[in-house]
């Protein structure tokens, strides 16, 4: 019954062994492969990668959703380019949609309507493209949450984290340029807003706007420019970054959850071929299928109802796509703060939510791994993941950020919330103004304490066993629930984590003779680290575990003899 805390791991990790896990193909296929291999030499290069091992956990597939929806975007996007005319030349619409026939609009809008009503399958493609875009960015975000909450961003993967942040940024810009292309009322309102945001930047604002629009808004250059960005520039960068992201992934190998046989030095899972490739390939079709269903069943961006953009028109429910929603929300709730100096107006009410907050959030995101490494002083490599509860402060930081994001996001839909929940839009605004500050703090505290009590729960299970549900009545008449020791595998998994490091103390720093700036920095760091780890539960020591095992065995015997002595398992024993 003893838990071996130092199992011999060299024998377990058979999956990274020397025999390649290749499939045995048919003879003909084999011959072709050999022919190709002799000429291209791919076999040698691929062999290593074909044997790459991928661990299995649902959360490791979130990134794949992003990858596959990106592929769907590329495919449907190419289809759209065949018909879309990125020009702001005014034409008279003469397509199949009656209620707009004869209306003057840009070629971009007219060709979007043509794609929707005159091109076979065009509307499906448009909607698939747009749904895929929404899912692409959403999946990047949940993938990022997984990476953060499990500590997968730690050394040596910090760079891949940064690449991920850039992908998120570029995906968002790509989405914005994309939904601006049709030049309908809603997207035009969005571009108009973007123009206003640019102009709100002090000094250079107007120049920037003129530069982007090639003159005064709206001009006739913006759609062709966005088009070039949307189908060439940004997809190119995105593709390169995705490639870099995947290469780094292969190079670093995948992280994995701790468990018997899983160490910092191996990866346990399925080889790339055939198992993983089959699963990943299958998942591609699922993603494709779900996006196709959405595209076929749910309306998205019905531009024919918005009509062509016209600066004199506006519609209620003018919202950006969801991923732009949170700065829009901040914009909706910020009080009208402005400063007038030297004949210039500084519109804080626009600058803060739009020009300051999004870049700031991005910077915070990118800096998270480095900040944490600096505070904890952890310079080791990590390939084993941490459960969110075992890093309470980290988890709480993310939940606080998510709360901020979520509240700002909800504020972006304040009008819809108001009509659907019969609230006053003004009340929602006042509430949100407070909530975006208080909410994250409350979320931080609750999450942190929650994690710590989960840690305590784990500790309890290790030291006192799990709850069996067997109630025993003592001779004195009291009832107690019997606990049994955890199975070895579970116990191993729970203990397979490092103890948190002990932060330096101020005395130690003083004693080390450090002075001036260095000393001050080290002290700050020590303080932060103390707060970071405060109240965390460390895993039990070997002695504690052994002792608890003796105790458990004793209890088990006692239970067994009680059961043997009693008339039945549940009824009261006769005396």
């Amino acid at each position: 019954m003893s838990v071996d805390l130092n199992p011999d791991l060299s024998k377990v990790a058979s999956t990274n062994g020397t025999t390649p896990a290749t499939t045995k193909g048919g003879k003909a296929a084999g011959a072709i492969a050999t022919w190709a291999d002799d000429r291209l030499g791919l076999g040698g290069a691929m062999k290593k990668n074909i044997r790459k091992v991928f661990p299995d956990h649902w959360s490791f597939m979130l990134g794949e959703i992003a990858l596959w929806s990106f592929v769907v975007l590329l495919l449907t996007g190419v289809f759209l380019t065949l018909w879309f005319d990125p020009s702001m030349t005014e034409v008279q619409y003469d397509g199949a949609y009656d209620p707009l026939r004869g209306v003057h609009m840009s070629s971009a809008m007219a060709s979007t309507l043509d794609i929707s009503f005159d091109v076979r399958g065009g509307l499906l493609m448009r909607q698939m493209h747009h749904w895929a875009a929404m899912i692409f960015i959403a999946s990047m975000m949940i993938h990022m949450l997984r990476v953060y909450l499990t500590g997968a961003f730690r050394k040596p993967r910090e760079l891949n984290w940064v690449i991920g942040c850039l992908l998120l940024l570029l995906g968002t810009i790509e989405g914005f340029t994309g939904y601006s292309l049709p030049d309908d009322l809603l997207s035009g309102t969005g571009v108009r807003a973007a123009d206003g945001f640019m102009k709100a930047s002090p000094v250079i604002g107007t120049y920037m706007s003129f530069f982007l629009f090639g003159g005064e808004f709206p001009g006739d250059a913006i759609i062709p420019r966005f088009y070039a960005m949307h189908i060439l520039l940004i997809p190119g960068i995105l593709l390169a970054l995705v490639a870099a992201h995947m290469l780094l992934l292969v190079y670093h190998k995948h992280t994995q959850w701790p468990g018997p046989g899983r160490t910092e030095g191996n990866v346990v899972g399925y080889p790339m071929l055939p198992v993983y490739a089959a699963k990943a390939g299958g998942f591609f079709f699922i993603v494709f299928g779900v996006i196709t269903l959405l595209g076929g069943l749910f309306s998205l961006n019905p531009v024919w109802k918005f009509g062509p953009y016209d600066p004199s028109k506006v519609t209620a429910g003018s919202q950006p796509d969801w991923y732009m929603g949170w700065p829009d929300g901040l914009l909706r709730i910020i009080p009208a703060w402005e400063t007038h100096i030297w004949g210039i107006t500084l519109s804080w009410n626009v600058m803060l939510p739009i020009l300051v907050m999004p870049p700031l959030m991005l910077m915070i995101l990118m800096a998270l791994p480095f900040l944490e490494a600096w505070i904890t002083g952890d310079k080791r490599e990590h390939h084993l993941l941490q459960r969110p509860r075992n890093a309470p402060t980290r988890t709480a930081i993310m939940v606080a950020l998510m709360t901020f994001y979520g509240l700002s996001w909800a504020a972006g839909g304040n009008d819809i919330i108001a009509i659907k929940m019969h609230l006053s839009i003004n009340q929602i605004t006042y509430f949100m103004r407070g909530a975006v500050f208080i909410g994250p703090v409350i979320a931080f505290i609750i999450t942190r304490r929650w994690c710590i009590s989960l840690q305590r729960h784990d500790e309890g299970k290790l030291l006192h066993g799990y709850e069996t549900g067997v109630l025993v009545r003592s001779p004195a008449g009291g009832y107690a629930e019997k606990h049994l020791p955890l199975p070895e595998g579970k116990a191993y998994t729970l203990t397979a984590r490092d103890d948190d490091p002990t932060p330096e103390t101020v005395e130690e720093i003083d004693a080390s003779g450090a002075t001036g700036r260095t000393a001050r920095l080290r002290k700050l760091r020590a303080k932060l680290a103390t707060v970071f780890f405060a109240d965390n539960v460390q895993k039990p020591t070997t002695e504690e575990l052994h002792e608890s095992q003796h105790h458990a065995e004793h209890e088990l015997h006692e239970l067994e003899s009680q059961i043997a002595a009693g008339p039945n398992r549940h009824g009261p024993a006769e005396h």
């Binding site: 299995d56 956990h57 649902w58 597939m61 794949e64 959703i65 009656d98 209620p99 707009l100 026939r101 004869g102 209306v103 929707s116 009503f117 509307l123 929404m134 899912i135 959403a138 999946s139 949940i142 009322l185 809603l186 018997p260 699963k279 299958g282 998942f283 699922i286 993603v287 779900v290 996006i291 959405l294 069943l297 749910f298 309306s299 998205l300 961006n301 019905p302 024919w304 109802k305 918005f306 028109k313 506006v314 519609t315 209620a316 429910g317 919202q319 950006p320 796509d321 969801w322 929603g325 009008d415 819809i416 108001a418 009509i419 019969h422 006053s424 839009i425 003004n426 009340q427 595998g489």
Partner: protein, 268 residues
Amino acid sequence: MLVCGLLLTGGLYAALAPAQADTSQDEAALIKEGRELFLVGCAFCHGQNGEGVLTQGGSQYGPPLTDVGAAAVDFQVATGRMPMAQPGAQAPRKERVYDDEETEALAAYVASLGTGPAIPDKELYSTEGMSDKELEELVVRGGQIFLANCTACHNFEGSGGAMPRGGYAPKIRGVDSKHIYEAMLTGPQSMDTFSDGNIPPEDKKAVIAYLNELDEAPSYSGFTLGGLGPVSEGIIAWVGGIGVLVGFAVWIAAHTTRSSKKKDEAAA
């Protein structure tokens, strides 16, 4: 009490006498019936002569109705907004209390109190008898007028939108053509009044034709999710898109975890 009664009869007599003089007997009976209904159901808030009632704070229980005209009464009463059940941010549309005949009587009475638009004739809002081509042109024009004048409050599909301080512009799909016309004509509550100088009758008809077209046209693009725009689309992307895909991910991963668990157990 007596003084009150005297004043009331005097005032009413003054108000009704000239009207009675040159309208037919039927009209007079209608107005009389309307007055009786009004005194019971409306006077509490709008005053015995429709002069309006002020609260102590100086705001109104009910505004004066002396110059709102029959169109306003027909709109308010036939959509169930009046009689208002309780003072609030906005009188909501509800089950109507008065039938057609009573509504007509109320309208006639209020119209007799002063000026104001009359209930529009059917040919002003009905597109009956138009050729397909005329109708199509009307719809196109109506769409543009609708987008220019109405969508700011009522949203691009007429699904409604929020107004300040708990107010809202209601969903205007499936509303009776006559009531759409009257709404434009009288501008209920925080809605602007679109007088005939602003949107000529022909254009009002066009807007109505467009709204009817929206009702009749199939949803080319699938379920419209309430026609609320990007917010409802975002919810679908998260629930129907990401939610479902994560479900699939869990399913796929679980399929091999189970078999590997068995293997683990066998090995142990």
